[in-house]
Homo-oligomer: 204 residues x 2
């Protein structure tokens, strides 16, 4: 049985839920009690020494870090029909990995942080996060102008990992009004069979 | 012909050089003139819209982001004998990816930043970077206590990507005296056939 430890309102947790659903994998969701710092408890640190979520358990295998979990699920449970999530092809994987890095870097550290400041009261320079976030949105909108998907010809885990914190960015008071290519991409993702949403993400 | 754009004193550039050498791949190194901000020039932004290095060109394929380049090279040029750098096995890849994230996150943002502040005059909170960096070193030393390699039973790109900014951390005035398991790991890496060093990394 697959068990996913995470938080309902976490975009990084949602990435995993989304892929689990798209791959039609049954799993048990175990919500963390972060008010009581369960993710820093001794029991949880045995699962993930970084004290962060999400964490996936697949039998005796434990995987932390959302990028690692996405790659693991796509590789382990992808069939011939849906191996496009993480294809067995070096140039495709190279382009997917680029966007995994952007998701953890530019996107999370601007759009994700602005949201965390406004929604959860995290400390930080909101104006700077918003200003940098707008630059990322402009870049990604331009990148998607003549493309259906971020990295390859089909949807991949690059799209799954970049989608949440872009789709949630208005919770960080960053407008999504000016990016038509991003909205077309949202719609494409939301139309994939098995798509599930999370609190805060609107339907196009 | 493979062309690598980067900087001699950059740990992220060195990761790629190291793997190219370990895989015995011939390449042309193109050093960037960062004093004149060549990495922000129009020509370079066509290679990498992020304006960062390293960037790899393999014929018409362009790959930016050091993690993406490592995966690409290992996957594209790994043979049956040396596919251990990025094996075709979901649990192994999951564990490798975890360390790719740690390299870009904890390691680069603490040890790498402290070095950048002292060596290149970058702005930032040196004391905080050093304090957090020591915690990472303690964690990794503990992790390597009963293991030969970070992620799997053989050397992988997890080791390649984490090695440089750990091995360079004394340039950020963070002592490496207290981590015997890390030193044993350094020695193992340095003994791999094809190993090359970079300025600032001592031989064990």
């Amino acid at each position: 049985m697959i068990r996913l430890h995470g938080l309902e309102v976490s975009g990084n947790t949602y990435k995993i839920k989304l892929l689990l659903n798209l791959l039609n994998i049954k799993y048990e969701f175990i919500p963390l009690d972060i008010k009581n710092k369960q993710h820093k408890s001794e029991a949880f640190l045995k699962l993930n020494p970084r004290g962060e979520f999400p964490v996936l358990e697949d039998g005796s295998l434990i995987v932390w870090d959302s990028q690692a979990i996405l790659i693991y699920l796509a590789k382990q449970y992808g069939t011939q029909e849906n191996n496009h999530w993480y294809p067995d092809n070096a140039p495709a994987i190279a382009h997917i990995t680029q966007w995994l890095t952007v998701a953890n870097g530019e996107i999370f550290l601007t759009l994700g942080k602005a949201r965390a400041m406004l929604k959860f009261g995290y400390a930080g320079d909101l104006e700077l996060a918003q200003k940098r976030g707008i630059k990322i949105l402009q870049w990604i909108d331009q990148h998607l102008k003549d493309r259906n998907w971020l990295a390859t010809e089909q949807p991949s885990i690059a799209d799954i990992t970049c989608y949440p914190y872009i789709a949630l960015c208005e919770e960080g008071d960053i407008s999504l009004s000016h990016y038509p290519a991003i909205h077309r991409w949202f719609k494409r993702i939301q139309n994939i069979n098995g798509y599930v949403s999370m609190p805060g993400i609107k339907r196009e």
